[in-house]
Symmetry: C3
Subunit: 155 residues, 3 copies
């Protein structure tokens, strides 16, 4: 449980959902050298359930953006839960934002901003913002958004 | 041809398909610093042919899982074929599991477990399991599964 | 503005489109240790507009390949614009080629070769070619191709 991240989340008053169990045979996070890799995360609610639906039909772009923010909260919960106390995250390196969207949907970057704005709040506008792709695909359990990311950490 | 990996595969009696030629302008593998990167691999059969079909319509989730295992065997063949003899793989870092699935299909993680269980067998339950995303998209030649991965190696 | 890359582009007479502004909250590039990461790039035209359409319906595979080449020119423009003068790119490490294709389209690798052949021209057939996946998904603004990449740089 990264103490520095936990303190920062308390400072800005974020309420995190429970960290999800992996949905298959993989690790939630892995630290290699000076990078923290996080597996694809879905939007877990505070009661432990998931958000569902395709963006562009079941959900509009604002609801998709809210789902992407919830993915960010879920990722923070996963990081808090599975990292050692002394871990210090220096910055976001890379984000792959996957939107479960209809073939016609056009605003994937707007949706994934829900995640990116959260991380800019938590880590600052320099360190919270890395490179990114935001694209449309089909997602497990019909969740609206899944995001994987890599972070630079202090060694 | 990584001798250590070859010995391990003989030990557990895995029969590998031939390593595929790249389907375009890219390298099958690349070693940078202490990481081995592997290009997206499809499910090559022992006769050199490919498996075909969309998961959720042409193939069910068990057939998709079998295809993901075949992708794993293909990746092992690619690694064996293109790495130097002295290469030692320490662990799986990251897997991107891409399932050629219908928009309604929900069990991408179950399908990609076919790959992950194989790598857990080969490298052990700690070192064979890394971070992962398992998602749905459309794939070249209508293959059911394509997977790219990165590994930590001894330097 | 990487001087070495700029000189090379002048040498082979490539005309670059303007570097696009990010379509959301992310950085166009990020340098971490000895790697240069580039965010997903679309096909920007010389007038600053974008190419549009799905490959397999609106565009055929040759038009898709031309779009992938334009993505490559856009990425070169992004790199030229956002990197320090002394930056030297040693090689392509990894390319994720995302084609906005119909579910039935089969030739994603052919399309992404439009990008890969350009980078082989610019950096050479050894250093311009890395690992790659080329797959089908849905893309923002209905652009036909989006590509993200990582490069090895001199430190």
């Amino acid at each position: 449980m990264s103490k520095k991240l936990k303190d920062r989340l308390e400072e800005i008053g974020l309420l995190l959902p429970p960290a999800p169990k992996p949905a298959g045979l993989y690790r939630p996070i892995l630290i290699i050298d000076n990078q923290l890799y996080v597996s694809g995360q879905g939007p877990v609610l505070e009661n432990g359930g998931l958000m569902y639906g395709k963006v562009g039909s079941d959900l509009d772009k604002e609801e998709g953006k809210a789902a992407a923010r919830q993915v960010g909260l879920t990722m923070l919960s996963t990081i808090i839960t599975h990292t050692p106390e002394e871990l210090v995250i220096k910055r976001v390196i890379k984000v792959l934002g996957m939107v479960n969207a209809t073939p016609e949907f056009k605003n994937h970057p707007y949706v994934i901003n829900g995640f990116s704005e959260l991380f800019a709040d938590v880590f600052g506008s320099e360190n919270g913002v890395g490179v990114r792709s935001a694209v449309g695909m089909h997602l497990p359990q019909n969740i609206p958004v899944e995001i994987e990311a890599a972070f630079l950490i202090e060694k």
